[in-house]
């Protein structure tokens, strides 16, 4: 991010030429679709007469009516709340585990570190759909080891894919898939702490736990902020896992998460206009949250630097 020290290089045209492919792709696959979505969100279809023949369906200006519909839609609100509840489980558990594992990998007397690190990182390579499929089967009463055990013990067996347990079931898939990646990011930051810091802490009589909590955690704070930020964004956009589990349960509706609702409105209901309005609302909320968050973090860092 820091500006290049040197003054402008001689060849003026080169950077522009180098950026042509990216600019072209951006225009075609980012800017144009976003503009088109915005346009669609302000229109609707009017059907004339019986709606038969060409010209019977006409796109007309709808003003903000698609937006007022989206914002007052109870199902969208419920979807947003469901995703918030899901995120409230996933983000703290996943990042808590990632930080714990990273600190333990960094413990100097730990055994099997390379093997366990690799095993915990492994789920990152498995697509969300396949992960949801594997866990989905493991949640079925006829297959699950949990139900097997409960059955043997003569205890009642819960339906893991409905009601409150559904949140845990979905969260488990996300935690399983995401912990390893975040662990590696935090662990890489831990490895970058200079050895003198560890030695100094040891000389001062810090136990490994104290060193971890008082010295290491504050020093990897930037990595924690980054993982937190990416986890929130990924959580808000949850789509693959609940969609994959749908065939296995009646507990997940086609509008379970806001993105699933956009997909249903656009393709099952063929109402691309209200789907676009909902999509724009989701984009707006995501961008506002992201920039607000980044801003707070930057201001914090600047204040801390000023205080030094």
């Amino acid at each position: 991010m820091r500006p290049a020290r040197r003054p402008a290089y001689g060849v003026k045209g080169a950077p522009y030429a180098f950026l042509v492919p990216a600019a072209l792709l951006f225009a075609l696959f980012f800017a144009l679709p976003i503009g088109y979505a915005a346009w669609l969100s302000l229109h609707r279809v009017e059907v004339k007469g019986l709606g038969l023949g060409s010209g019977a369906r006409e796109e007309v200006w709808a003003g903000l009516s698609n937006y007022t519909d989206a914002l007052t839609d109870a199902e969208l609100l419920h979807g947003a709340l469901r995703v918030l509840g899901y995120g409230a489980i996933v983000v703290p558990v996943m990042l808590g585990l990632a930080l714990t594992f990273a600190l333990m990998l960094d413990h100097e007397r730990v055994r099997f570190a390379p093997a366990t690190r690799l095993a915990i990182f492994l789920p990152y390579a498995i697509p969300g759909v396949v992960a949801a499929l594997l866990w989905g089967f493991l949640y079925l009463p006829e297959v699950s080891p949990l139900h097997y055990g409960l059955d043997r013990a003569g205890l009642p067996q819960p339906d893991l894919l409905d009601g409150g347990s559904l949140y845990l079931a979905l969260s488990n898939i996300a935690v399983w898939g995401g912990t390893g990646f975040n662990m590696i990011v935090i662990y890489t930051a831990l490895r970058a702490i200079p050895a003198e810091v560890h030695e100094a802490a040891k000389l001062d009589g810090c136990t490994p736990l104290q060193t971890a909590l008082r010295i290491k955690v504050p020093m990897v704070a930037p990595a924690l902020v980054l993982t937190f930020f990416f986890s929130i964004i990924a959580t808000l956009q949850v789509f693959n896992e609940p969609t994959t589990l749908m065939p296995l349960t009646n507990g997940i509706s086609t509008t379970w998460s806001p993105l699933m609702k956009v997909h249903r409105d656009a393709f099952a209901e063929n109402d691309i206009y209200s789907a676009s309005a909902t999509a724009v609302v989701i984009a707006f909320v995501t961008l506002t949250l992201s920039f607000g968050f980044l801003r707070t973090v930057n201001r914090r860092t600047r204040q801390e630097e000023a205080a030094r």
Binding site: F112, L122, V130, W135, P145, E196, T243, H263, T286, S290
Partner: protein, 304 residues
């Protein structure tokens, strides 16, 4: 000063780190830290359970799947494999080839775009540079469905939906890849070498290819891997774009199998065998490449 520290002095009786209550057990020079080791092993087992299960379950016949204990192997491995092979004339293998194509070609082209853009953003100062960069970055934050629905409608206008291109093209520009390439080029490309190239009269493109790319190579490998995994994982885009199952990637193919399984449970054994065969090459690939995966790049990105 660090060398002064006495090697493993029994010092302040090391209150056994609240982490290791089993302080008494075996006192060879370097006691393993019990609790951290245990926690990591438990974590590793948790991460391996579904993978182990799919390996076991692939051997179960349809009835065994829903009647025997979860981790008890069955007797239907060869049968299941044969059924998967026979399913719609071996369309599964087609899916696997498609996935390799989407992820391999897509990631390679995407890395090339990221490299040239990141290099330009890192090594030149020009009007509008930060504006270009920030616009690209905003792309990272766009929820995929916000893009995918209008992308589908626009590609439909161009008669390109349900084609290989409809899945490849929208994924060629990775804002995150450009970002990483810029961070990496700033750190790894020596400006005086570039300058020397200029003095020798080399053109800008030539300098980029001959000097920039080799210096950026480790970072480019990482970008390639990220993008490979991202495309491999992408379900939404092919789900929206494709309807011809000959063009499906594995994720979409397995999803449709699972969906049909709801009404024809006989397909479940095929799904599980398919999932196993999808996971094996992934794990193999992962074990080979993870050593090239320099994640310091990410933490370097954090600091800037």
């Amino acid at each position: 000063m660090s060398s002064v520290a006495a090697p493993r002095s029994p010092a302040p009786a090391a209150p056994a780190a609240p982490g290791a209550p089993g302080a008494g057990q075996g006192r060879p020079r370097r006691r393993a830290a019990l609790i951290p080791t245990l926690a990591l092993v438990v974590g590793a087992v948790y991460c391996l359970v579904p993978v182990a299960w799919v390996a076991v379950a692939a051997s179960k016949s349809g009835t065994e799947l829903f009647s025997t204990f979860t981790f008890l192997p069955g007797s239907g491995f060869a049968d299941n494999l044969e059924q998967l092979n026979a399913y719609r004339d071996g369309v599964y293998w087609k899916w696997m080839g498609n996935t390799a194509l989407y992820a391999g070609v897509g990631a390679a082209l995407s890395t090339a775009v990221s490299a040239v853009s990141g290099y330009a953003l890192a090594l030149y100062r020009f009007r509008g540079r930060e504006a270009v960069f920030n616009t690209l970055l905003a792309g990272v934050l766009m929820p995929p469905v916000v893009l995918a629905v209008p992308q589908y409608l626009l590609l439909a206008e161009a008669d390109l939906t349900d084609s290989y291109l409809s899945v490849l093209l929208p994924q060629l520009l990775s804002p995150f890849g450009v970002y990483l390439a810029r961070v990496y080029a700033t750190a790894a490309v020596a400006k005086d070498v570039v300058e020397a190239g200029r003095v020798d009269g080399a053109g800008e493109w030539r300098i980029f290819l001959r000097m920039g790319v080799p210096m950026m190579a480790p970072g480019l490998v990482t970008i390639f891997l990220f993008q490979f995994v991202a495309i491999w994982n992408n379900f939404l885009l092919p789900y929206i774009m494709l309807s011809d199952d000959e063009k499906f990637p594995l994720t979409l193919g397995l999803y449709t199998l699972l969906e049909q399984g709801a009404s024809a449970p006989a397909l479940y054994t095929i799904v599980i065998m398919g999932a196993l065969l999808a996971v094996i090459p992934l794990i193999a690939l992962f074990l080979v490449v993870q050593r090239f995966w320099s994640l310091d790049l990410l933490s370097g990105a954090v600091k800037s």
